[in-house]
Every structure is written in C-alpha cells, then in structure tokens.
C-alpha cells in the first residue's frame, strides 16, 4: 500500500518528520517498508518561458531558445524538440542539474552554439502522458493551466511532483488499513492528531434510480450487500491534476475521470468499486447469481474465461457482465462514447472471491481486498463518495437515489472489558482508564464493561486481540522484559546425544558435513539404474512441484550424495570426503504420514580413498555407537554398487549399513570420472543397537603372550571367516586378534593367499605358560584346517 502524504493530511493533523512518521507507524503495527519524495532524483530543474526561438545556423532540426527563468538575463538553450513556440512555459534543467534516472545536465556546445541546460520532456521528469494528458510524449512538456507558471519556481512544486510516498506492508488481518482513511485512523492514534474523515454527500440530482436499474441478489450468502447508483450524460475526460497526482502517488495510473473515481474511492475507503456502461446491461437488471457451468465471459483484460457453478457473477438478464469481486467483463467497461453508467459498491464473501480468483488464475486489486473480508457497512458511503466526486468533477448528471440490497449481518463483535486480564497477559500495569482511552482512539466503544469492536475490524474475536491493541499503542518496547524463572530440565535426548557424537566422530575422520535438498527428481532412480519395480521408486510425490528436479521426496539419500560428489568433482576439487545425517521418506500410502528415518551418509572420492578408508570410517561410526560383534557380508547384487566391492553390516536381524564403491555405470550417470565410495547407514538401527554405558574393566594382572599365525587358504576365503573361527576355537583366552598381512603372490600358489594374524593371549587367573599358548594356537590351527587352510611353512 503506497500512501500519499498530501492525501493523508486531508484527514489527520500530525506534525512529525517523515522519518518519525515511518518509525512511529512501524512501531504501532503498520510496517513502513520505505518512504521517498516523488521525483527525488530531479534537481535544479525550474520553470522557464520561451522568449524567442530561432533556427540553429548549422542544423535543420535544432532550435536556439532564449529562456526566461525569472533571472536578470535570459539563458540560451539549444533543443531538438519541434513542439515549441514563443511564450511556452517549460521545465528547464539548468547547468549542473539532474533529471529522472540521475542524468547529469551540464552546459556545453551543440554544433558550435552554446547551450546552458536542457528543456525537459515528461520522460525526463519521470512522468508519462497519464500524468499530464495534454502533453505530448516526444516533445518538450509545455506546462498547462493546471501548473504554477511562476518563472524560476522549482519544477516539483510547479507541477505537483513533490508528494511524499510511504510504502506500507499491511498484514492480511488489517484490510481496513489498505486505505487512506484506515491509515489516517492509525496515524491519528499513533501520533495523537485529530481524525477528520469525510462524510460524503451529493447536492444535485435528477430523476429516480429505480427507473433506470433493478438489482436482485440470488445468493445472499455470497453477496451480503449490493448498492448501485446511476449517472447520466457522462462526460468522459481526464481527471483534474490533484486527483491524477494522488493516484500516481498511490501507484495507480490515471485513465479518465470515471475510472479514476472508482480507483480513488477504493484507495480512500478500501471499498472496491466498479462502473458499468448501462447500454450493455440487458433489461437494465443486475442479478447477482452463480455462474452456469460452462458459461463464458471475456474479462476486461481481453481473455475469454470459462466459468463454473461455484463462481459468483454479476449478470444482466442474458449474460454475465462481471466476475463478482474479481474483474468486469469487456463490454461493461467505460468507453469514450459511454453515456450512462452504473456504479457498483458491493460486498462479497471473501472465501468465495478468493476461490474464484484462484480458479481463474487472476488475482486483482479488487479480489485481493475482498478475500480479506471487508466491511459491508461502508458500501453506501463509498458509493455516495463516488457520486460526490462525479459532481465535483462535473463528470455527469447524477440520478436521484441509490439502490441498496443489504443482507449483511450487522451484529457487532462485543467482548467483556477486562483490563486486569490484559495486564497479566502482556505483563504491564496499565489502568482501566488508560486502556479505555487507547481503545477509543481506534474507534472501539467501551461502555458498561463491554467492548464493541468497530465494524471494519473483523479480526477481533478474543481478549488476546484486545490485548494486542493495548500493547501496540502502549508500545511493545516499553513492556518490561522478564527473565524466565523456575527450574527446567534442559537436555538432549539419547538420540540427540548419539547424533551429536556421530557429528564429532565423522568430522574427526576428516569429513565435511553437507546439507542437501530432500526432494529429488524421479529420474535419479533411473540414474541409479534401479529396476522398474524397485521399491525405492515408490515415493511421496509432490502434486504441485516447482519442477521435476524437486518433485518427489527421496527414499534414499544416495542420489543427493552422488550429486554433491559430482558437483565437487566437476568443480575440479581433487578429492572430497563428505557426510550428512538427514532423513529419507518412506511412504505409507495417502492415509498415513510416511516414516522419516534418518540416514548417516558418507561419500568419498580421490586418490587417498578406497573401499577400505570408507570401511574404516563406517567402523568408527559403529564404534561410536558402541556396536561390536557385527557381521560384514558381501553384497554383489545391488545395481548401485560395484558387485565385488560392496558389503553390508549385519547385526542379528538388522542390516545397519551398506557400503561400497559405486558401480561404474552409476558413476558415469552422475558424471564422476573417478572411483567413488558411498555408505548409507541407518541412524535408527544404530540407536536401537547402541552399546550400553561403558563400564571400567580392571587392567590385566598377568602378562599377555603373543603368537603369530600364518595360514594359506583359497583366495576367495573371507578373512572375517578365519577370524571368527580362531575366536571360536580359542575362546576367552584370546584377548585380541590382529590381521597383519595378506599375500597372494606366486609363492603361495595360484588361487591361494596367505593370511597372517597376531594373537594376543591372556588369562585373568594366571601367567600363561608357553604350553598354554601352544595349545591355544593348535586349537586355532585345527579350526582353520577344517576350513581348508594349511599352515604356511
């Protein structure tokens, strides 16, 4: 909402600077986004008169003008414009001046003739023909009689380009403030000035409106009130300068007197107005009804629209002439030969207007206002104001009377006056009298312990709303701060604690955390080369996505990780080690919300990384969760991963993680030109299987004995299988087992490998003897031989 200072000052006397006005309004609830003076980039442009003009000797289009700017001597300016004659009064950009757009004007020579400035067109003052309809676009702006022609006067003042425009952000609950009068009320309450709202009246009328027009409301639940008036012998012409100025300051383009009047009244009172040409109203009959399904109307913007029976239209006896509250039909508009018009000032159901505007995809100034629910009590006042302006502008002859079909509910909102409640809710101590004063400033009535809200405040329904009114005029910043008291149990949950620990462990492993979009393109599943029936493909689908790229909720975070690896690879980062703890979304159909389990994602590429660096990190993650004794199983059937370099971590029934090198085909789909490694770990299963609190184990009292053991086995034999066999064979005497060599050279034979372990043996009861140790190793060898291993000689 752009507010003209000049217009505001018609209705309220306040004496504050523009900055004070902006700050004060913001702090009382009408947020000022910005304010500025019109034409503020125009400097040192003044009014001058063309005393004489002659042809430039060396040019067939330039003119040399002698300009009287109210100083002792005329100044000479050369111009290329062809519309000047002696005696014209024009805007003169003097030497060292600025015109619209910040262009700096300095004196100089044009084809050898001195020119001490520039004569300005409308464009150079930032204006258009809409602002001064009598001026021409491609010539110098010759000032008309609606301008002050005092020579030497600053151009802003001379042509009224000197209003202050304040831009407000009005919240959706305060449609009443989308008007000059609404903001004037707020300003008066904020700064203490007197509010003087206009009470419109019409002096001269003829005839009777009922002879011209009949109105019927078929849908009183959707149209609460419809008031109409008729003006005959309409004289279409430009509006006067003061009206054009105010419209311009409010960001509305002046068109002609009738259209301008409807816009002016809407800006002044917030009531959308519409003007119809009576010629096109068949039967001179306005019927407010639902549209018929499939009925068509071409709206003022020239687009033919198909209506449905959920929409409300203004119709005559044969056809719809306007979409109620949204936009008029093309034939209903005002044309140059229009003679008789109908003014409409109506009130429609906000939800209805909102739905219709949405369905038709046309949000207009009018629909944006109606959808916030306006005040039906103001319809006739606004209509009268329009007629008053017709009279004032001599825009036509007003037919006597108005038609007012009023079905609106006028029961006011009342609430008990509870100053104590307000004080204790806000945390202030303001007397009942002072609270009453605040409420009365904004037109609330307080009588006999009852507050009556004004009809234009449809947002009031609870004591809390009253307390906001009190608080904002008391001043939010004056409310004393109070520090939270009482004992509270501030802490992380066990899940949150585990997550925090994981972050520490992962960053300690050198991984950078990433943050990725959780919605992806369904095509990502193709890039992962998943089968058509892969269950990862059944995901939550957004019905109105921004684009395909962000149209489904991911069921795996692997695509997100691969995209980030790819971006880094293609940005020529030599290596990357990344992680993310973030959810995937597993659909439970449309009747239940999906599960949103978190995944710990790890992604690596670069020379220093391999399957084993990835596995090392995963092992640290498991260790961090206190998980041990898990099984590592080969995965060779995943389309995403390398069939020979992928594993899963299994604990009992649970698969905690999948980790491996990405399949070259998938890697190619993501344009990653080097091996890369990804692990996807279930946070929920980490948490479920997390280790108990750690308990101290006494240090060994007896020394340990170490034995090395090297065996030869099939190359395909998993080392973990050997390790498990050794553990099982030796039992609790085996304190730890460490793999220290794997060798598959020619010496051990084709298809074979040598595996060497270091065993640490320990007893809690006594010092182990060599015989004890030998016996343990023998057990281990026996177990390994059963697996087909032989002792390496």
């Amino acid at each position: 909402m752009d507010l003209s200072k000049r217009w505001l000052h018609d209705y309220v006397d306040i004496d504050v600077t523009d900055q004070e006005f902006a700050d004060g309004m913001t702090l009382s609830g009408s947020k000022v986004e910005a304010f500025c003076r019109e034409g503020k980039d125009i400097k040192n442009v003044i009014v001058g008169k063309v005393e004489s003009l002659e042809r430039h000797p060396d040019s067939d289009h330039l003119w040399i003008c002698q300009i009287n700017v109210g100083q002792a001597e005329n100044i000479q300016i050369v111009t290329g414009a062809q519309n000047l004659k002696e005696g014209d009064v024009v805007p003169v950009a003097m030497h060292d001046s600025f015109v619209a757009g910040g262009n700096h004007i300095k004196k100089g020579k044009l084809r050898g003739v001195e020119s001490n400035g520039m004569l300005c067109s409308l464009g150079e003052l930032g204006l258009t023909k809409h602002d001064f309809p009598y001026a021409i676009e491609d010539g110098i702006f010759v000032l008309g009689d609606d301008c002050d022609k005092t020579l030497g006067m600053d151009i802003h003042e001379a042509i009224g380009l000197d209003d202050i425009v304040t831009e407000f952000e009005i919240t959706s609950n305060r449609a009443d403030c989308l008007s000059v009068t609404g903001l004037a009320r707020e300003a008066a309450a904020t700064f203490g000035g007197e509010l003087k709202l206009p009470v419109p009246e019409v002096k001269n009328t003829h005839g009777n409106v009922n002879d011209f027009l009949k109105v019927d409301i078929d849908e009183p639940s959707l149209c609460y009130r419809y008031s109409g008036a008729v003006v005959e012998n309409v004289r279409i012409k430009p509006s006067p300068r003061w009206m054009r100025e105010r419209l311009r300051a409010s960001g509305v383009r002046p068109i002609n007197n009738i259209v301008d009047i409807t816009n002016y009244v809407m800006l002044e009172f917030g009531q959308p107005m519409h003007a119809f040409d009576l010629r096109y109203l068949d039967g001179n009959h306005v019927i407010v009804r639902r549209a018929k399904s499939g009925e068509k109307i071409t709206t003022l913007d020239g687009i033919e629209r198909e209506l449905s029976d959920t929409m409300l239209v203004i119709a005559d006896e044969n056809k719809p002439v306007a979409v109620a509250g949204v936009m008029g039909g093309e034939y209903s508009g005002i044309m140059d030969d229009t003679t008789t018009i109908v003014f409409e000032s109506a009130m429609f159901n906000g939800v209805q207007v909102r739905r219709t505007a949405k369905a038709l995809g046309m949000r207009t100034e009018s629909s944006a206002r109606y959808e916030k629910e306006l005040d039906a009590t103001g319809c006739v006042r606004s209509l009268t104001r329009a007629l008053q302006l017709v009279e004032e502008l001599d825009a036509g002859d007003i037919v006597g009377g108005i038609i007012d079909c009023d079905r609106s509910d006028k029961t006011p909102v009342t609430l008990p006056f509870k100053p104590e409640w307000v004080n204790s809710f806000i945390g202030i101590d303001l007397s009942a009298d002072e609270q009453k004063k605040i409420l009365e400033k904004i037109d609330f009535k307080v009588e006999d312990g009852i507050i009556t809200a004004p009809s234009f405040r449809n947002d009031i329904e609870h004591q809390a709303d009253i307390s906001e009114e009190i608080a904002r005029f008391y001043g939010y910043n004056k409310i004393p701060d109070r520090v939270l008291s009482g004992v509270a149990d501030g802490r992380y949950t066990d899940e949150q604690t585990l997550e925090n620990k994981l972050h520490s462990v992962l960053t300690a492993q050198g991984l950078d955390e990433i943050c990725t979009y959780t919605f992806i393109s369904p095509k990502e599943y193709d890039k992962l080369t998943l089968a058509e029936d892969d269950k990862l493909r059944s995901c939550i689908v957004i019905s109105n996505p921004l684009g395909e790229d962000t149209s489904v909720m991911r069921t795996t975070a692997i695509p997100s990780m691969l995209s980030v690896l790819s971006r880094n690879y293609n940005n020529r980062n030599a290596s990357a080690a990344l992680y993310e703890i973030a959810p995937v979304y597993l659909s439970n159909g449309t009747e239940e919300l999906p599960d949103e389990p978190d995944r710990v994602m790890i992604g690596l590429y670069g020379e220093e990384h391999s399957y084993f660096t990835l596995k090392g990190i995963v092992e640290k993650v498991l260790e961090c969760a206190g998980i041990s004794g898990y099984d590592v199983q080969r995965v060779s059937d995943s389309p995403i991963f390398h069939p020979g370099r992928t594993a899963k971590i299994v604990l009992g029934e649970d698969t905690l993680a999948t980790l491996g090198e990405i399949h070259p085909k998938v890697r190619e789909n993501y344009s990653i030109g080097t091996r890369c490694y990804v692990a996807e770990i279930s946070f929920d299963l980490l948490f479920k299987n997390r280790g108990k609190e750690r308990v101290y184990t006494p240090l060994p009292k007896f020394p340990a004995v170490t034995r090395d053991l090297a065996v030869v086995c099939d190359k395909t034999m998993a080392v973990l299988t050997l390790e498990k066999a050794i553990r099982a064979a030796i039992g609790k005497t085996l304190d730890s087992i460490t793999l220290f060599d794997v060798y598959d050279g020619a010496q051990v034979g084709f298809g074979k490998k040598s595996v060497a372990f270091s065993l640490k043996l320990l007893s809690k009861e006594r010092t182990l003897t060599d015989e004890d140790a030998d016996s343990s190793v023998k057990k281990a060898i026996k177990a390994l031989e059963e697996l087909g291993c032989s002792l390496r000689s």
Partner: protein
C-alpha cells in the same frame, strides 16, 4: 720402570689431546688400561722388583692408572657433548615447514549456528522437539488458526502431496504435536526443515530451516517472551545487542511481533547490510493464540504461552557474511572448508 710409567702418562696425555672421537678414545683406553694394555704389562713386571721398590712402584702405577682413567673419563664427556652437538646441528629442521596433520572435517555452517542456538536454549532449560516434515494440513494450518481459504495461507506457498497431506511450510506444527503429548510446563525449541514453493535465488530456496520455540506455563506474559529473546540475542550476538519489537500479524499468535536486532555489522549506525536502518529482522513470535492452545489440548484459561520462529539460513548468512543462499546447498568443499 718409574720412567716407563711417567712416559706412558705423558703419551696418554698427548694422545688424549689430539683425540677426536669416541672410537679413538676407546682404542686408547684399551691400549693403556686393557688386559693387554701398557699399564697391565708394566704391572706384570712388578715381580722383578725388590720388595722395597714394589709397594712404591705399585702405588705409582695405580696413580698413573687412575690418572689416565680420570683423563679418559673427562675426555669422554667432552667428546660426547661435542658429538651430541654435532648431531643436533645436523638434525636442524626448517621449523617453518607446514605441519603434518590428519585433516579434521568441518560441520556445515547451518549446523554450526544451529549448535550455538541449541546450546543457548538448553542452557535456559529448553528441550529439543521434532516433528514430521511431511505433515497434515491440520497441523500445519488448521490447528494453528489458519482454516482453509485463510488469506494468510497465501504468504506460505505450499507443496501439497494430497489435499490433506503437505510438506510443512513452518516448524510451528511441532507446537501442536508437543502440546498434544506433553502437559505444561513446556519449554522446547524445534529446529527443522521446512518447504515453500519459492523459486531459487540468492535469498530464497524452496527448502530451508526454521527454529521454533514454545513456552507454556501458568502466568506466562509477553514480558517473558521479550526477556527470553533478549537473553538469546545477547548470548548469540554479544551483550551490546539490542532488540526492537514491532507489532505484526501471525494467525497463531496474538499479540504477534517481528523482532529486529541491532545490525551486527554496523552496530546500529546504518550500513548496506541493514539497508541503512540499523536494524535487521531475525525472527517472529508472539503470545500463543488461545485457540492454538485449545487445539493442542491445553486449558487456555489456566495457561498462557509464547512462541517464536527463527530462520536459520538468515542467522547463518548474517553470521558468516554469506551473500548467496545457494552456496549453502551447493556443498562445494571450497566453501565448506571455510567453516
């Protein structure tokens, strides 16, 4: 013999003076004092001496022996020192060469700032609540006093899954979920992902993060909200921080406010970051609307509460002077490694 002994001593002294390393010293010791050494061989001749001479010579020989031992020991210490010095000299490093370390990773800037916020609120007795991102319209809108067709829904362009299921546009639905599960007193923050149908540019993303706060108890006032947020702002931005509360409208709070913080760049004097205003908006909040309390199953006659919502991206971008939100989601390591 006396003469021989004296000569040995003189020779030992002379040789010691010219010795340069431990090996030569050891050779000398063996030569002089070893089992086959010169002193030993002289002592072996003692038998040929008279009984009168023998003790005198014995004493002299012992003196010479001790003397030489002493000299060798002293020389040994000198040589050892010199050798150590030489070794230290040889081992001198360019101490300015870069250190070798195992790289430590970096948390995402959003996490870094969120951690600070969480720590501040945990210190004030808050717990951390969560709620689903794919949410019912009821929790995201209706229960928050935003019935269907409410015009304020327009300010939050919503991604819908079905007519009733959507991607939450705010973390506020967690308010209702917490109140449904927990009776007052309630003191929670709920950080999380939220979604709005905004095209991507330097200051917009369809995916971003909010931090919701909710306090419900008997006798909670707007003064509590102000004091709490003031405390938070001072911890996050320093003790000189000031807040400015502006009336605003949110359907789920009444009274509602937007809160500005003194610009952390210029301290309130006005600069390009705060567009010359000296204030930067960081959050919105207010007293929980009685209808919202009721929808959460809380007796609005007995209890009152306040709620607030903070945009994490905004906090983070201000904190690190990041001018383009897209950087946060591109995850280029050259960006991530800066934090």
């Amino acid at each position: 013999m006396r003469e021989q002994l004296n000569k040995i001593r003189e020779r030992a002294e002379a040789q010691l003076a010219s010795l340069e390393n431990m090996q030569e010293l050891e050779d000398l010791r063996v030569q002089m004092l070893g089992k086959k050494g010169e002193i030993t061989s002289i002592l072996k001749q003692m038998g040929s001496l008279s009984a009168e001479e023998r003790p005198k010579m014995g004493q002299l020989a012992n003196e010479v022996r001790q003397n030489i031992e002493q000299l060798i020991k002293e020389k040994g210490q000198l040589l050892k020192q010199a050798e150590q010095q030489a070794r230290l000299n040889a081992e001198t490093l360019d101490v300015t060469l870069p250190g070798e370390a195992h790289a430590i990773g970096h948390k995402h800037p959003l996490s870094i700032v969120l951690d600070e916020v969480k720590d501040i609120f945990i210190g004030m007795g808050f717990q951390i609540a969560t709620g689903p991102e794919v949410e019912w319209d009821y929790y995201n809108f209706e229960a928050l006093n935003l019935p269907p067709d409410h015009p304020a829904r327009d300010t939050q362009d919503t991604f819908y899954i079905t007519e009733k299921m959507l991607l939450r546009t705010q973390t506020s639905p967690v308010q209702i979920r917490v109140m449904e599960k927990q009776a007052p007193p309630i003191r929670i923050i709920a950080p999380g992902r939220v979604y709005r149908s905004d095209a991507v540019d330097a200051t917009h993303s369809p995916y971003f993060h909010q931090i919701e706060g909710l306090v419900v108890d008997e006798g909670i006032t707007m003064g509590d909200l102000k004091g709490n947020l003031m405390q938070f702002a001072k911890r996050l931005y320093g003790d000189n921080t000031q807040l400015r509360f502006r009336p605003h409208h949110f359907p789920f709070t009444e009274p509602s406010c937007e809160v500005d913080v003194t610009c952390f760049k210029c301290g309130g004097k006005g600069c390009p970051m705060c567009k010359g205003e000296g204030w930067v908006e960081i959050l919105g909040g207010g007293m929980v609307h009685p209808k919202v309390l009721q929808n959460g199953g809380v007796d609005a006659e007995k209890y009152s509460g306040y709620a607030f919502g903070i945009g994490l991206e905004r906090l983070t971008m201000f904190r690190f002077n990041i001018d383009d939100m897209r950087l946060l989601f591109e995850n280029d390591i050259r960006f991530l490694d800066q934090f």
